[in-house]
Symmetry: C2
Amino acid sequence: MAGALESLESCLERHIPPGELAEVKRILYGGEARKLDLPTAALSAAQERDFELQGYGFEAAPEQLRRPRIVRVGLIQNKLPLPTDTAVAVQVAALHRRIEEMVGVASMCGVNIVCFQEAWTMPFAFCTREKLPWTEFAESAEDGPTTKFCQELAKKYNMVVVSPILERDELHGGILWNTAVVISNSGALLGKSRKNHIPRVGDFNESTYYMEGNTGHPVFQTQFGTIAVNICYGRHHPLNWLMYSINGAEIIFNPSATIGTLSEALWPIEARNAAIANHCFTCPINRVGTEYYKNAFTSGDGGKAHHELGHFYGSSYVAAPDGSRTPGLSRTQDGLLVVEMDLNLCRQVGDKWNFKGRAVSFSSQLWPRQR
Amino acid sequence: MAGALESLESCLERHIPPGELAEVKRILYGGEARKLDLPTAALSAAQERDFELQGYGFEAAPEQLRRPRIVRVGLIQNKLPLPTDTAVAVQVAALHRRIEEMVGVASMCGVNIVCFQEAWTMPFAFCTREKLPWTEFAESAEDGPTTKFCQELAKKYNMVVVSPILERDELHGGILWNTAVVISNSGALLGKSRKNHIPRVGDFNESTYYMEGNTGHPVFQTQFGTIAVNICYGRHHPLNWLMYSINGAEIIFNPSATIGTLSEALWPIEARNAAIANHCFTCPINRVGTEYYKNAFTSGDGGKAHHELGHFYGSSYVAAPDGSRTPGLSRTQDGLLVVEMDLNLCRQVGDKWNFKGRAVSFSSQLWPRQR
């Protein structure tokens, strides 16, 4: 039964004796992540607003010439607050309200950069292959209501906001894209990053709606570090992560929407491997819950038509360049993960292992030479 | 205490109730691997010879035009049988004997392709930076005593043998390499694959002895499938795995020597990510035990001179293209892991996800285009 286990980590904590638990965590997670001391007001607000709040921290060694570059990142995962056949505008308004109350708690926790889940203003309805009403959720990245909403949040809380939406590019023929809008803590639009690998697997019929993005591998220099957004299916491609990293990203967000039967065994592996291989922090975020659709659809697997896509298993986490990671958020509940990191760790680990330097110089080895 | 936990998997089995254990295994390993029914004679021989024997199987769907391509792979991890200051020839002879008795059991289990650990005929003495006696362990890949020994094994058991050794290339100036020799089940030398990424990290001073290999990314067509060997540190480089896979490898062995404090959190991630990203089977093998050296050496970390490199934590495993994996062998004991796989799974998973196809077509996206 998907969804039966609240989280892998809570299960391990419950059953494994303390003496062995430390070793298990070291092998599974690279050690016990330091717990952040979050404000009581934030913890009780999260409880009132019915979402999980967890906080962890990663350290770096002190250096002589650089000061620590401490940043707090917030990852938000959430269910749909309303049924998928509610009026479009009503669903969007409810999602705005839900995110607003979660970002308020992120602010209490000192979050500098917050990222929401993929296509956060809508149901992940691409399984249906229906155009209406789903394409009505698309908005302009530059001046749509969701971008304006995020700009207000950014200014109010002095927080960089990464807002992954379904984009309609009105300036270029009304084309749809799957796009992350990046907003500075001043409220200014920093730019956007379009999903550049589109799945055609199982119920993920996304190329029915939009194609591979044409924004390359942009990075965004914020007051709190250089960030990039590798959306969902881009997570499966090691070269994709590499390019964001080579372009300078120290933190790569991976807003996603993925389900248990398809990918849960891959989830803890791919983004963490990317953090290791590229000496950066990676932040995979998955939505949570099960979404029902009025009209039944088939899945290209010979099975019967059905009304749901499967269980989005949440489990958002942060992986560090040294291979360690935080526990995951819940598999079943809304949640905010607050992670403090010293970005100096990226270069320190790079100088130790130098995987990325070798990748860059690797082109000379790409094809077999003499045996 | 490194070595305190026999294996992560045995700890989970011992403490987590059966109802939750299945979910834990699904999330951690992609499901419960099917246990192979190994012959009683093999199990008791392994017990007599004091090593762990485990067997698992991966299935593929039936196809109309291809028959199943079932192959059994054997991964061997072992401690040094003698102290590192024993005479070179005596150590090599003891290792030959140890491997001979383990391969005998592999044969009872129907293994078609066996792979030994990195530099299996010697202590992993590169931490010392001493040249003698360690360079005396080097042998010709083409006609050294170890290659001859492996050719005999291959013929006797009708088994492909992958034999990673310290190579001295007498034909080209007596240069040293870290090389895997690949021997056909007929006993013929199929070729060799040289380690192409050399660590310069912690006590892994290997570039003191040999440099990046010049054999590119060769693959070897055997009667039992197309294989490649990505030696040790090459595991950290996603592009390296990609090239072996693009060249046609269905099974990539990763004979290694790595220690707990340095890499244990990375170990379950990297080779498994490579199996996922490249739709192939990967077989990471790590040596096991702690090796002591007579002369103390420092580690470039400001610490005191010491006599041991650290704990080689074994934990050899096999990862499948669908993201699932076997449990690991022991962290502390010699072991043989027998894994049956249907190689048809590689193309089936590739057709489903198509990550590799996208990597190949990815070159057109390598640099940022217009936003």
